[in-house]
Amino acid sequence: MVAKPKPKLAVWKFASCDGCQLSLLDCEEELLAITGMVDICYFPEATRAEVKGPYDLSLVEGSITTPHDAERIHKIRRSSRTLVTIGACATAGGIQALRNFKDVKTFIPLVYAQPSYIETLNKSTPISEHVFVDFELRGCPIDKGQLVEVLNAYLWGRKPAIRPHSTCIECKLAGNVCVMVAKGIPCLGPVTHAGCGGLCPTYQRGCYGCFGPKEDSNTRSLAARLASPIGMEEDDLVRLFRSFNAYAEDFRKESEAHED
């Protein structure tokens, strides 16, 4: 009997900081098991070796910010049986999507000595605005436990056990005291997708919304509470919702609602 070939894995990078790809290398204990189960065929962050596609599973990090990348993602989609985006850049446009609220052409001369060399799009957009995405793994950065779960799920043909509820549930499972109720610290936990295990509230900080909006996030109600009695100004609310997941629809609309 001929051994079944291992599924082929590719890891792609678009506009991003590489932190989410690094989560894969950070899977120290599971890394050997992963390489035992899949062939890592394309992963420039880890190796120069390259095996040509098509690929069974592509992990895509980063957002689309250039005309070239807007083309490239279609090629990757065509050569991938399953495509999973990893991290806030790929799922929501990332921190670089702050440009989406302004005119990017006004920034370019401030940053680059030769603006004419820069070819960039007006908006930083998630991969799902360009091609069909099989699954979006949230986070800035992603959680490595969730990454292993996603790989595992696709290896065995099941749905990833990633729950889209609030970060509050994770805090409560961990026994955390709510920082907003007990200390009046502004926290995005009630509108933020779980995944980090309630990391910031565990250390007495409010949630920054790294995992983006949860299912049916009621940002309007939370923002009203943060304004009064918590005491946040409109400008602060704009900035609170406008970070790593600024361009995720629910957060985008909420930040826009507090702009002049």
């Binding site: 599971e30 098991a33 992963i34 035992g36 189960m37 292993v148 779960e149 790989l151 595992n152 290896l155 065995w156 056990a161 729950r163 889209p164 509820h165 609030s166 509050c168 549930i169 409560k172 499972l173 026994g175 955390n176 005291v177 709510c178 920082v179 907003m180 109720v181 007990a182 200390k183 009046g184 926290c187 936990g189 009630p190 509108v191 007495q204 949860k214 299912e215 049916d216 996030s217 009621n218 309007r220 109600s221 939370l222 009203a224 509470r225 009695p229």
Partner: protein, 381 residues
């Protein structure tokens, strides 16, 4: 009835530990009363005062000589009985096939130190849910079996408490091995102890104590009467099943859905909410699998996800489900209300939604004739 000095609390803790109990009780952590292990009496939260109101909790030193001037805090005892996460079984796969291995349910003996009357009522409700139905929850049963309860009557209810209207407090009637009430007969704190079980009596016999005087008992009566009068909040339970039947399409659900975050904090802090989900995980090689049960909430969409989508897809339908089950359908299902009036869902709601005010709003809409049929688009969804 007996009376002990405050230092007797330390002796009680030691007596329980000497008998092999893991003693858990109120400690102060991260600005709130939490229920955790009491390694020594130094860990016990004493002389703290809490301020509670919808969506707000603050803890300060009491400064008035009272030992227990706080009410139920951030945690519930269910974390020791109906645990947030339980491994149900593991499975391994090899050449010979699949092998299932059940997880042991065995628990060490746990003593709850300072359970409030409303919390005892909550445990009694979960007993009914987990032990008295057709299927007994073996994990809950194992944790419950050898549990020892030191109850603590409430002399300082918070503004979120509404135990009086739910008939669960501020005095514990049953469900304890020992029950303490703090009194100040001569300006100094003392604790009157009522024995509720044989084991309780045996443990108390080890402690330095004196028989409670008529004056002590009078002080207990007075303390608890005053506490009862200080419970400001109330929930009108009169004809509540009919109210919810008639309110199925009340416009109030639209109103509360605009405020509700769907974050599930209320269900997580509720001492009676028991819903769970089951998560399966496996190792990458597919040789080992684990089935884990974790707390879930009717406020998540996944909770009612079936083929084709979620049965309750909107905040409207999810809030209605939770409060209707808690206050009305629970009576039909388990013979009691699912609410004990501890007020946690009010305090720990990040936007301060108040279950008692929502019931009042439903009643008010009935009175003014805007009680039904006014709902915009949701229908049964």
């Amino acid at each position: 009835m007996w009376t002990i000095q405050p230092r007797g609390l330390g002796d009680l803790l030691e007596a329980l530990r000497n008998r092999g109990y893991r003693v858990v009780g109120p400690v102060v952590r991260d600005g709130a009363i939490c229920y955790e292990d009491l390694g020594s009496i130094e860990d016990l939260a004493l002389a703290w005062l809490d301020e509670q109101e919808p969506g707000n909790y603050r803890l300060t030193g009491s400064g008035n000589g009272d030992l227990f001037s706080y009410s139920p805090g951030a945690h519930t005892w269910k974390k020791f009985l109906h645990k947030p996460s339980v491994t149900l079984w593991r499975a391994t796969k090899d050449q010979k096939g699949l092998h299932l291995k059940e997880e042991p349910t065995a628990e060490g003996k746990v003593a709850l130190f300072g359970a409030r009357p409303c919390e005892l009522a909550a445990i009694a409700i979960q007993d009914r849910v987990f032990l008295e139905g057709p299927f007994v929850d073996s994990f809950y049963a194992a944790a419950r079996k050898e549990m020892f309860v030191v109850a603590l009557n409430c002399s300082h209810p918070s503004k979120s408490c509404f135990c009086v209207s739910m008939k669960t407090g501020p005095r514990a009637a049953t469900g304890f091995d020992l029950c303490l009430t703090e009194i100040h007969p001569n300006g100094e704190a003392e604790l009157v102890v009522e024995v509720g079980s044989e084991t309780g009596g045996l443990i108390l016999a080890d402690l330095q104590r004196r028989e409670a005087t008529e004056k002590d008992l009078e002080a207990v009566r007075k303390t608890l009467e005053e506490a009862e009068q200080r419970v400001e909040r109330s929930l009108d339970t009169e004809g509540i099943q009919g109210l919810f039947d008639r309110s199925f399409e009340s416009p109030q659900w639209d109103d509360v859905a605009r405020r509700c975050l769907g974050c599930a904090n209320c269900t997580m802090v509720c001492p009676t909410c028991f819903c769970t989900t089951v998560v399966e995980s496996s190792d990458l090689a597919g040789a080992e699998a684990t089935r884990t049960r974790i707390w879930d909430s009717c406020f998540t969409k996944d909770f009612t996800y079936i083929h084709g989508g979620s049965v309750r897809p909107s905040g409207y339908s999810r809030y209605r489900q939770w409060i209707t089950h808690k206050l009305a359908n629970w009576i039909e299902q388990f013979g009691t209300s699912g609410c004990v009036g501890c007020g946690r869902c009010i305090t720990w709601c990040p936007v301060g939604i108040d279950i008692t005010a929502e019931v009042e709003a439903l009643r008010a809409r009935e009175r003014t004739g805007s009680g039904s049929g006014g709902s915009s688009h949701e229908g049964n969804a």
